[in-house]
Amino acid sequence: MTIKEFKHVLRDPRSLFFLLAQPVMLMLLFGFALSNEVKESRVAIIDQARDEETKKLTDRLDQSEYFDVMGHYADPSVVPALFEKGAARLAIVFPPHFANDLEHLNAGQIQVLADASDPNTAAIATSYASAIFGAYQDELLGLMKLPYKINIETRMLYNPQLVSAFSFVPGVMTLILTILCTMMTSVAIVREKELGTLEVLLASPMHPMQIVVSKAVPYLVLAMIDVAVILLLAVYVLGVPIRGSLFLLMAENTLYISNTLALGLLVSTITEKQQVAMFVSLVGFMLPALLFSGFMFPIENMPWPLQWISHAVPTRWYYRIVNAIMIKGLGLASIWKETLILAVMTLGLLVLAVKKFKVRLL
């Protein structure tokens, strides 16, 4: 009996793969990639003093594993642009005469600006920076026996209260659309396969494309309603603003929904049973969507192979878009790249799915 069971398992390479690869994958993912620690945050330095002290502090930041100085700028007005592009998460502003102030007034001012559209990361990175400055202050105290003081002023851009709903809403939207559309479409089509009705539909004069499109439309409508409900709840109950254009947001949503519908269709062409379709959608798409969207775990902290994989996950791009529009209030000009990537992915998936669909049935 047991031998027979082993044979079953061994002869089904797919389940074998799942059985053996899953623990390995999950361990590696959670162990290395998905830490909530924020490492190598890109930080912009706006040094208006350019003296010994600011240079030392900048070096400290750069040497720590938590920060990566991405550039030096003269004027704090560049900061919003850097955040919008995602070039920096944090900006440190040293006012003019920093060393002078420190020496003569015994007090230096440092301003820390953080992109708080992702509140967790912002809070963590800011506290690391404060800790580094604090350590430096302690050293000075020990050295000079003088009450030096470095005052740190922190400002959270986009989300001053660090409300976590700000990052949650785009995240939840992303997840719901992924589950609803991918799973429901695939299950709907596979159900007809199981029933045998798909064959009858195909034997009718309806074009296969017509059949597929008309199956997808109800889910598109449902998904749109979901989006509307989430947005209404977000704005009126959680108090999350929609800073960008609502029209643009809806347009991007439609794009992403098409993307997930295409994925669902693709799943339905490769599966014969509803349960399998559900399983594939869940494990194959939900999990990556969850892990690689940047919603739960910052992508920058992942090892490069995983970062690389995350580029292939549509959800990642969609999450960035929604975040940019809702929280940062950006326009199409700042997210055209993400939009283009998503559009190309959608088109590719659709073509692939339709091709597969036809091949399977003709």
Partner: protein, 252 residues
């Protein structure tokens, strides 16, 4: 014009030849039985005739249209009923009729009138608004057949239409088929119930993707010195190479 004409029709799946150079024709109003064990290639052959599958080679005309080039036209002129009754259990009888009628571009007003007439004729009038899942199997099957021919196709393809149905209901179902054939409908039916083969005007027995015999049930029985079609079939199928349950091949 013949309802179906087929010459050297072949379909390969990789190395596997599911249907191997079959040729036959079916006259208008004929009930043509397509017999064979599972995996003999009946479903594959039927799917090619319905425009669901492209032939690897060979030619054929269904309802006067080329199966290689005019599958759209063919689809408009045939009805199809699959093994699983292929109606929606979560729709009512009326909704099923309207839905399938709509697929064939029957104008809605006409369809409305027709569907009521059909429900009356089947004696389903009082139950027309019940979900199909509550129907007995025999009713579903009759409804499925009526739905498959409601757009008045020239030919109807029935893929093992009587699987799992009791003999009395089966008999009633065949009465419906006869009635329709008298009205000029061509019926192409696959089955593995050999008693049903006796009801056909002419049968074609497939073994290993080829036609092993084709004639009226009477002459087949005479030729193979058999009491019934079951015996004929067993004599012919004895030489079969393919086991009856070649995994999934003939089906999908």
């Amino acid at each position: 014009m013949k309802a179906i004409e087929v010459k050297d029709l072949t379909r390969k799946f990789g190395d596997f030849t599911a249907v191997d150079h079959i040729s036959f024709d079916v006259s208008k109003g004929e009930i043509f039985g397509f017999l064979g064990a599972n995996g003999a290639g009946k479903t594959t052959a039927m799917r090619m005739l319905c425009g669901l599958l492209k032939p690897s080679s060979g030619e054929g005309r269904v309802a006067g249209f080329d199966i290689n080039l005019q599958s759209e036209e063919i689809k408009k002129n045939i009805g199809y009923m699959s093994q699983k009754f292929s109606l929606y259990n979560d729709l009512t009888a009326r909704e099923n009729i309207l839905f399938y009628g709509g697929l064939y571009d029957i104008p809605y007003k006409e369809l409305k009138i027709k569907s009521e007439r059909l429900l009356d004729r089947l004696g389903l009038g009082p139950y027309a608004n019940k979900l199909l899942r509550d129907y007995p199997l025999g009713w579903k099957q009759k409804l499925a057949f009526s739905v498959a021919i409601q757009h008045q196709p020239m030919i109807v393809f029935l893929d093992e239409p009587t699987g799992g149905v009791d003999p009395i209901t089966r008999r009633q179902f065949w009465d419906m088929i006869y009635e329709s054939a008298e009205g000029g409908l061509t019926v192409f039916v696959t089955t593995h119930y050999m008693d049903e083969a006796e009801y056909c005007h002419r049968v074609c027995i497939m073994v290993d993707g080829r036609i092993a015999a084709m004639d009226t049930p009477q002459s087949l029985k005479k030729k193979y010195e058999s009491q019934n079609m079951d015996e004929v079939f067993r004599k012919l199928a004895r030489g079969a190479v393919r086991s009856p349950d070649v995994p999934g091949r003939g089906k999908r």
